[in-house]
């Protein structure tokens, strides 16, 4: 018994990529194991925890509930696509560090991308809107306070700069670069 393979071509984080996969292959497995983008994490494989959230044509989706063949020809953003090329953290990422919004870091990519999609839709949310928007993702470590504070800080910064929250960060001149260790 052998499954038929399908060519899936996508643009991930601005770079074209492709692989031949079975029709049943999940987008999460396609990203992680075919394209090597292991920053997308899998926490439940039934769409509840949100750890696998990525942006599909700019909107958050659960990669564990999406088939890879369904995204052929589309654009994706994963956690690897937000920090600047020199490693400088995206304002959402930096806000998570500033507010201790992560501990084990496993759920974090999903939260960061959920926040990016949310802030693109709603640039100046109030506290309750942030709590509501972040309430589709599970975190077992932090108790969420740091996450909510981080999204609030990032929303102010992004609104002030006018940058698209979903775009790769472009550091201002003078912003401290923090390259990969």
């Amino acid at each position: 018994m052998s499954e038929v393979l399908h060519e899936v071509r996508v643009v991930v984080n601005g770079v074209p990529a492709s692989a031949r996969v079975e029709a049943r292959r999940l987008l999460s497995d396609f990203l992680r194991h075919d394209l090597g983008l292991t920053g997308t994490h899998v926490g439940c494989e039934h769409g509840v925890c949100g750890a696998c959230t990525v942006l599909l044509d700019g909107a958050p989706v659960r990669a564990c509930l999406t088939l890879a063949v369904a995204v052929d020809g589309h654009e994706l953003t994963t956690i690897e696509g937000l920090a600047a090329s020199d490693g400088t953290l995206h304002p959402i990422q930096r806000a998570f560090q500033d507010h201790h919004g992560l501990q084990c870091g496993f759920c974090t990519p999903g939260f960061v991308l959920t926040a990016a999609g949310f802030l693109a839709d709603e640039p100046s949310p109030d506290t309750e809107a942030i709590r509501e928007a972040m309430s589709g993702n599970l975190c077992r470590c932090t108790g969420y306070a740091g996450i909510l504070a981080a999204v609030a800080q990032a929303s102010e910064e992004l609104a002030a700069s006018g940058a698209d929250p979903r775009a790769r960060h472009r550091p201002e001149r003078g912003e401290a670069g923090e390259g990969p260790r």
Partner: protein
Amino acid sequence: MTTRMVGAPVARVEDPRLLRGEGRYLDDLGQDAYEVAIVRSPHAHARIVDIDVSAAIDVEGLVAIYTYEDLPPRLQERLPVLIPHPALTRPRTQHVLAKDEVNHVGEAVVMVVARDRYVAEDAAERVRVLYEPLPAVVGHEVSAAAEHAVHADIPDNVAASLEQTIGDAPRAIAAAPNRLSFRLDIDRSASMPLEGRGVHARWDADDRRLRVHSSTQTPTSVRAVVATMLELPFAQVDCVAPDIGGGFGVKIMHPWPEELLVPWAAITLGHEVKYTEDRREHFIAANHERGQVQWVDVGFDDDGRILGLDVRFLHDHGAYIPYGLIVPIITSTQLLGPYRITDYRVRFDSLYTNTVPVTPYRGAGRPQGCFLMERTVDRIAQHLGIDRTLVRERNFIQPDEMPYDFGLTFQDGRPYCYDSGDFPASLAKLKELIDWDGFESRRAAAAAEGRRIGIGLAAYVEGTGVGPYEGGHVLVEPSGRVKVATGLSTQGQGHRTAFAQIAADELGVPLDDVEVVTGDTRRFGYAVGTFASRAAVMSGNAIHLAARAVREKALAIAAEALEVSVDDLELIDGSARVKGSPDAAIELGVLATISNPLRYAFDESAERATQFASPADPNRPPVGDDESPGLEGTDFYSPVRSTFANGMHACEVEVDPETSDVRILRYAVVHDCGTLINPRIVEGQILGGVAQGVGGALYERMAYDEHGQLLNASFMDFLMPYATEVPAVITDHLETPSPLNPLGVKGAGEAGVIPGSAVIAAAIEDAVGVVIDRMPITPSELHERRLLAGQEGTS
């Protein structure tokens, strides 16, 4: 000027790489590895009649299928009883793969290895196992009734019975002017980290060396058990804990069957092999905790002083008991909390049931004990009509009574003796934080609007930093960078930051110059593990001591090089410097180079260490008798007994009169974990713990039916709190340093979760006036209780 790092709320050094998606979790490793799927028992209790793999053999991409019969003799033995105890007279552990019988849904029966996980699952689906179902034993009381046995040769289902006493509780209670008896239960729950278990193994046939990565809280012990059971020298087995997506206790269990099967398969097949647990497997094959049925008899005087306490409880440890009696022993000692109780008796039975085994989950028996004790104190207050805080005050052990030895034996086999704490001061802080005295006016104002609110509080003491030991290695590189290693592993606690702070202070270097590695036997082979809120206490102090040794060595070398006395030197800004003469200094990196006498130079710096470079004393050997080359040091911290952290929580809740929905309005925490290494990290531990406490109080429960099927084995049905369910938490700290260790620290990892059920139950009871004696409680259960009590608004 180098500022002091210990005590500073510095941002975590771990964060940037995790935020960029550069973390390396278990399933990120071994992209070319064969993958494993496990055929698991669908029955809670059954005899295995036959296993037929013939339909699976043809699956393309299949590599191998293994049953019990295929395993080497050593892997056919039962898994070890990790923590033996004299009272554990009938221990039973599982086989790596089931032999003849299965004892819980989810027990591993067959291992399938294939090209990838999809194919492995295809083949696993085609394996036919014929079972003959046996009666399932589910629930404490069903097990205790022993109509059926989990293990045929243990007909009463009791693995162990243990009793501890101080004084004469039955007599004290009989003589007391007031007596109460009641039952207080906690349901089963689980750690439920977002990343499940996982193991990856690579066998290097040329070097005959095995490398195991496991998502574990104890890599050194995993290495030991893998080496032992695969009959390899320890020196040929490395175990590394990569980034770990949360543990909360469940990953202290080892060896999981997969931790032996995967390395064995990697050696047998000569290929990398990996197992990544999925969420359903985590529910039915990774361990649970919490479930206890508990009875209390208490006698007290008219002021509410407890004169005698008699406790009996049933502990459901599931189908097997690999972790011994740790959880019920912790309950039976730690339930005493901050109270001076001189006449105490506790008895428990640890029972087999046909459910997933039980090993510690954050708090480890303490949430059950805290629920028992704090509900008891509330009952006393209610019985006498005295304020709940006053009854607590009257029973507190006073600060001048420290150290306070109860005369019991703790989980480490050592005296149950509190080293520090100021409970009256903590309570005073908590009352202020939640505005306890102002609550009645808030209640009245709410009532005027038709709202029902209530307030509760709960106190706990937590034994942390249990032995036997941890170690630290500190090395200064010729570059001046400091490499620190300790053996225990990290699941998100920010160890790399906290340990770097400790080393940076001792060596006078910037935080950025320190790099910490945890949980890698290649870097540090002697360790115990991460549990019992022990990492900061144990490894923190070990690293402190190791860094101190390096500091002394650096100063001695610098003193010789600069021809000054050690007393005239300080380590600051990465250099050894003559006090008051900033120009007379020598960098740590240079000291590292000249600490290692060289014959060969390869750069200018190394030239300084060669044999013709300096006029050394020709009558002294280059490396003296009590010296060793290199600017490095290793030390260990091993305390005589545990150190005890403590704290108190208070919360206000509102109960919807129509729906009995519970909303937490305010939540306050006062915590005393001694010296704070990094207040930001401690705060994060507390807030995360509170969230799990809220989950345990209102949402999380393992719902087994009478057949032993877990009805809610998914995140759709096992409800964990989202951001919308966790209240804002206000915190305050009391710092009473532990006298037991040089840093004065006490553990902080578990505390936040301990009083959750106790404090929320107290507040709900206060809001609606019906007795809350079992947690968690759902709105429908609360509604039913209110209906029974005939409350208005519930019709």
